[in-house]
């Protein structure tokens, strides 16, 4: 369906770009998720307010529109982003907003009693967060983060629209060069599915470790579908606000 030259010059690097965009955007998203997630419960109202505004704006924003805007409109404001970074930023900013809801929700779910036990031992706010609340909230965050990560992986296909040569972009190039569409798009879909599968398996390991870290056994879930599905809380972290990602 494609020549080996095409495969090595465009398609293989495309897979690599997709992975890179996923990783970078996930890293940015994670930083934002924790930053904004914590800020939304800050003791200072102004911090809470600004974090809330960030959350509402980026949650309401279409990642594709944001990407376009960063790519085409931002330069006119005097800033220029390399396409890949425009894509990474747009994805990171958006999914970071969803992630902040996960962080906030999981932290809020840590029992009040644990927080009080921390006060009784005279920990500072920050120490309580670092030593008690975060380690206990973390295992709760992993499954919704997995869902977000898969949504993010799917979102990376959008960068092809702003000319980042990811695997979807390579697929389009091949279509235009050869008008041979069926095999390439089928392959693309399968590849994304495989990547999603790998992410889910990876996150299961993370979850198992996280649970072991607080002395819990992870519950067993069987079947390939259970491992892959965006099931359960999802999205719907915080009654589904993060669920409304897509």
């Amino acid at each position: 369906m494609m020549s080996s030259e095409f495969f090595t010059t465009w398609f293989l690097p495309g897979i690599w770009i997709t992975i890179q965009v996923t990783v970078y955007a996930a890293a940015l998203g994670a930083v934002i998720a924790f930053g904004i997630g914590l800020a939304r419960d800050s003791q200072f109202w102004i911090v809470r307010f600004l974090a809330g505004v960030y959350f509402e704006i980026f949650r309401g924003m279409s990642a594709l529109v944001l990407m376009f805007w960063m790519f085409f409109a931002l330069p006119f404001f005097g800033w220029q982003l390399v396409p890949m970074w425009a894509g990474v930023s747009a994805l990171g900013l958006t999914y970071g907003a969803y992630g902040s809801e996960v962080v906030r929700g999981s932290l809020a779910a840590v029992s009040q009693a644990q927080k009080e036990a921390g006060i009784a031992l005279n920990f500072t706010r920050w120490q309580r967060l670092r030593l008690i609340e975060m380690p206990q909230a973390w295992p709760e965050m992993v499954p919704p983060f997995n869902n977000l990560l898969i949504e993010l992986l799917k979102g990376t296909a959008l960068v092809s629209v702003i000319t980042v040569a990811d695997m979807t972009f390579a697929g389009n190039l091949l279509r235009l060069g050869t008008n041979e569409t069926t095999p390439i798009y089928t392959l693309l879909l399968v590849l994304y599915f495989v990547l999603a599968f790998l992410i889910t398996r990876g996150m299961r390991l993370v979850e198992r470790k996280a649970k072991a870290g607080i002395g819990q056994q992870p519950e067993k879930r069987g079947g390939i579908t259970a491992k892959l599905s965006a099931r359960g809380e999802t999205l719907q972290a915080g009654s589904g606000s993060a669920g409304g990602m897509g």
Binding site: E5, F6, F7, T9, V161, I162, T163, L176, G177
Partner: protein, 267 residues
């Protein structure tokens, strides 16, 4: 990062920079035969072929293609994602405000992709208007303006010529407008669609020339002039060298022109 400054040397020093690094990034739009990525994964097409020869002569050995959407060519150029647009982009006054054009390396007529046998007898934009047919064209194609000028509203904008071919073959639209060669290339091997005779579009009685060239940033006048000089040499001896380069892509004597960017930019 900040948008780079518009060059410190009057008329730009990009050529020297590129010579120094020995490579140039060219923006292409995945539109056969002007510029596209072939099955072998290499950039090819009329414009990249010309670029290869000219840049070689300017002392730049390597060409790095950057394929983007047609609509992203000018923004991409301005944003320095590549150094020159090498996509056979039509030279028109509106675009001349945004970029510097080389002199055109071809002059091309428009044509349509229509259903096999051209059941509606479409020859020009006016026929489509008169018969109330449905027209499609490509995103950011210059053909859209010509079509609008004769009063065709509601043009279906498709991502590219391949989508156009499908749209016509599947009866979504009656015709897809593009350049003569885009059109004839797209229908190659199709048994459901064919290309119409090329024609010269007009707006208000004045011919609209579909002449395409290379585009440079407004600040890079020196680079453009050097390029023009080499292009002119290719056109010597009745376009001998130029013809040789572009023939494999379906271009012929009829597509050669002596018009200049200056004339085309004037409108």
């Amino acid at each position: 990062s900040r948008v780079p400054d518009e060059g410190k040397v009057l008329g730009g020093s990009l050529l020297d920079t590129l010579k120094g690094q020995g490579s140039v990034k060219i923006g292409i739009a995945s539109e056969p035969p002007f510029g596209y990525v072939g099955d072998d994964g290499q950039a090819t097409g009329e414009a990249p072929a010309i670029a290869k020869v000219i840049f070689e002569r300017l002392g730049i050995g390597e060409i790095k293609p950057v394929p983007v959407d047609f609509g992203a060519l000018i923004p991409g150029l301005k944003a320095r994602q590549f150094d020159v647009v090498s996509a056979g982009m039509y030279i028109n006054p509106l675009r001349c405000e945004q970029v510097l054009f080389s002199d055109p390396d071809y002059l091309m007529l428009d044509a349509f992709i229509v259903k096999k046998g051209n059941p509606h007898g479409i020859k020009r934009y006016e026929d489509i208007k008169a018969k109330g047919l449905k027209l499609a064209s490509g995103k950011a194609y210059a053909q859209i303006d010509s079509a609008k000028a004769v009063g065709i509203g509601n043009i279906l904008i498709l991502p590219d010529q391949v989508a156009g071919l499908d749209a016509v073959a599947q009866g979504r639209v009656d015709a897809f407008a593009g350049t003569r060669i885009t059109v004839s290339d797209a229908v190659k091997g199709s048994n459901r669609a064919e290309a119409t005779e090329p024609f010269q579009p007009e707006i208000d009685g004045k011919p609209v020339y579909g002449a395409g060239g290379f585009a440079f940033r407004l600040s890079e006048q020196n680079f453009r002039d050097a390029f023009n000089e080499e292009l002119l040499k290719l056109k010597e001896n009745n376009y001998k060298e130029l013809l040789e380069i572009v023939k494999p892509f379906g271009f012929g004597m009829a597509d050669m022109t002596d018009l200049t960017a200056k004339e085309l930019c004037a409108g």
